[in-house]
């Protein structure tokens, strides 16, 4: 469809207020979305971090800022530790790690909305183009 609602909800979810109007109309920079939206002609899609099992970004990280969260096995990023060397940007074959200069000069990526119940992009995708699956490829529904 190319509605870009995934982006809107991702940005809102990672804003201070988590309120869609305040995020978009309020003062100060908005967070970057954790995904890339691509569109050529009739084809459009959104892609975010695959949380790879064998994650090249974790290996390439000079500081240990990129790490695997033990419980969920999500690939997360510690902004305090990150120095912005962009090694992760260099090695991610999906090209889904962003350079977040405006907010703080560190890498920015999908965190699977780990602080809330369910990924905002999945929850708000109107035609189930974005789904959440486990390591076996089975769909995970919101509880």
């Amino acid at each position: 469809m190319g509605c870009r609602l995934c982006e809107v909800y991702c940005i809102t979810q990672h804003s201070k207020t988590r309120d869609i109007i305040k995020t978009y109309k309020g003062k100060g920079p908005k967070p970057l979305s954790g995904l890339y939206f691509e569109e050529i002609g009739h084809i459009s899609f959104a892609i975010q971090c695959r949380h790879c099992e064998d994650a090249p970004c974790i290996e390439a990280c000079l500081t240990g800022a990129m790490f695997r969260e033990k419980e969920t096995e999500a690939v997360l990023h510690n902004k305090e530790k990150c120095v912005g060397c962009w090694m992760c940007v260099m090695v991610c074959p999906f090209g889904v790690i962003k350079v977040d200069i405006e907010n703080k000069k560190v890498a920015s990526k999908c965190d699977l909305c780990i602080e809330s119940e369910f990924p905002a992009c999945v929850e708000n995708c109107p035609n189930e183009a974005i789904i959440l699956v486990d390591e076996k490829g089975e769909k995970i529904e919101k509880k």
């Binding site: 240990g64 999906f94 959440l132």
Partner: protein
């Protein structure tokens, strides 16, 4: 007497505690939770990231912020770490390593001793005991910092306009010190960049007040009572200075294998399992020579991600996992004064019909993109200024994808996964919450 039923625990020894050694620990512990692991480091810190020493020199990071794994790491992984404990000798027959006071036997050994700085032959340098530094370890950065503060240094001479020399220069300039860089080649970063990219960075350095002397080198160092006073260049020019930093490059630190039958070329030669010619001795990182996917031969690739990969693969195979290293290639991500730069492989090929170049440049905006193609495959690239999505290029290189059908889109603003051939796109994004 109680009968010991348990199988004998493996004893692993790791020499070197930088990213190769640490990744080796991680590889071993993913599989073998019980084996004994001993790690030996000649440095006086539980771990730190060497590339971050320029951040330390610049004053951007403190010493306690340089670690890439926290102190608990060694406890969690149940590893005995010996710092300030260089390994002196390896006995490959008896499988023993010797330290100053004692020795340890092993079943499997990993050599991750990294690289050491190249000291070019300069007249008079052997008589100097104060004022000449290298820049590869934390102690180097500390010594430079202390010396500069103690002597109230305002100007520094750096020999070498490659990655080490420039990152050191950047750190110094950020401290408010003026820098003179001396580079043998006709441009800075000759091994990493092409002319255009070198010029953009050179202009930025000059803007920051840095003097760059090219096609020149240091012929002689003049000292008094062992203290640096002056350097004399090849063209006769004299520069008064109290401090000279040598940042011309590193070579594999292979001293430890002298007198053993371990085979080396420039670095220690390893097979796809990271084994040396002795199957119970492994190696990886800046000291080792593994497969280079672009050059199609064994080569030392002294960069962090390669060391991490090699160390991890070695760790798996020290436990007998039979995991293969699929090869890597040279790549660098370095920021100079706010200009991010990423480069892969061969960035400056000879000008002939074998290579195709696609490029776009905007000097004003410090923006440059270049792709080098050979036989329809990308073998090199430079991204300067805007680097987002460049990782896709690294994937195309690694997987040797034929880019002929979309090559003109490679440097386009719209470049992304959608311009890739459907088969490759589906291969890399299969499943996992996406529908193409």
């Amino acid at each position: 007497m109680k009968k010991e039923k348990k199988l004998k625990k493996n004893k692993y020894i790791i020499i070197g505690n930088s990213i190769a050694g640490v990744s080796c620990i991680e590889g071993i512990r993913e599989i073998d939770k019980d084996g004994e692991i001993f790690v030996f480091s000649d440095e006086n810190i539980f771990n730190y990231s060497r590339p971050l020493i320029s951040y330390y020199l610049a004053g951007r990071l403190k010493e306690e912020q340089l670690n890439f794994r926290d102190e608990n790491f060694y406890i969690e992984k149940n590893v005995k770490l010996f710092i300030k404990t260089p390994v002196k000798k390896i006995n490959t027959k008896e499988k023993i390593v010797y330290i100053d006071k004692g020795n340890f036997d092993f079943d499997y050994l990993f050599i991750g001793t990294g690289g050491s700085p190249i000291i070019p032959q300069i007249k008079g340098i052997d008589k100097i005991r104060e004022g000449v530094f290298t820049f590869t370890k934390l102690n180097d950065a500390k010594n430079i910092k202390n010396f500069i503060e103690k002597e109230k240094i305002k100007e520094v001479v750096v020999l070498g306009g490659g990655l080490i020399g420039l990152k050191c220069s950047e750190g110094l300039i950020e401290r408010g010190i003026s820098v003179i860089i001396i580079e043998l080649s006709d441009r800075i970063l000759p091994n990493t960049f092409d002319y255009n990219a070198s010029m953009i960075i050179e202009n930025k350095l000059k803007e920051k007040g840095c003097e760059i002397i090219k096609r020149n080198t240091i012929e002689k160092v003049i000292g008094k009572d062992g203290i640096v006073k002056e350097i004399i260049l090849k063209d006769g020019r004299k520069i008064k200075t109290k401090i000279l930093i040598i940042g011309v490059g590193v070579i594999p630190e292979t001293k430890i294998i002298e007198g053993t039958e371990i085979i080396k070329n420039k670095g220690i030669i390893v097979n796809e399992f990271m084994q040396t010619n002795l199957p119970f001795i492994f190696s990886g990182g800046d000291v080792a020579e593994g497969e280079d996917l672009i050059l199609n031969k064994k080569s030392v690739i002294a960069i962090w991600p390669v060391a991490a990969r090699m160390g991890k693969i070695a760790g798996y195979n020290m436990v007998g996992e039979g995991k293969k290293y699929d090869g890597m290639f040279i790549m660098n991500s370095i920021e100079f004064f706010g200009i991010p730069t990423i480069s892969f492989g061969i960035t400056n090929p000879p000008l002939n019909e074998n290579y195709e170049i696609i490029e776009k440049i905007d000097y004003e905006k410090n923006f440059y993109r270049k792709i080098v193609i050979k036989e329809n495959k990308i073998i090199g690239a430079i991204y300067l200024g805007k680097i987002e999505r460049v990782g896709i290029i690294s994937g195309l290189i690694k997987n040797k994808i034929d880019v002929s059908s979309f090559k003109n889109l490679l440097i386009d603003d719209k470049f992304g996964l959608l311009v890739l051939p459907e088969t490759y796109r589906k291969h890399i994004v299969k499943g996992e919450g996406i529908e193409v």
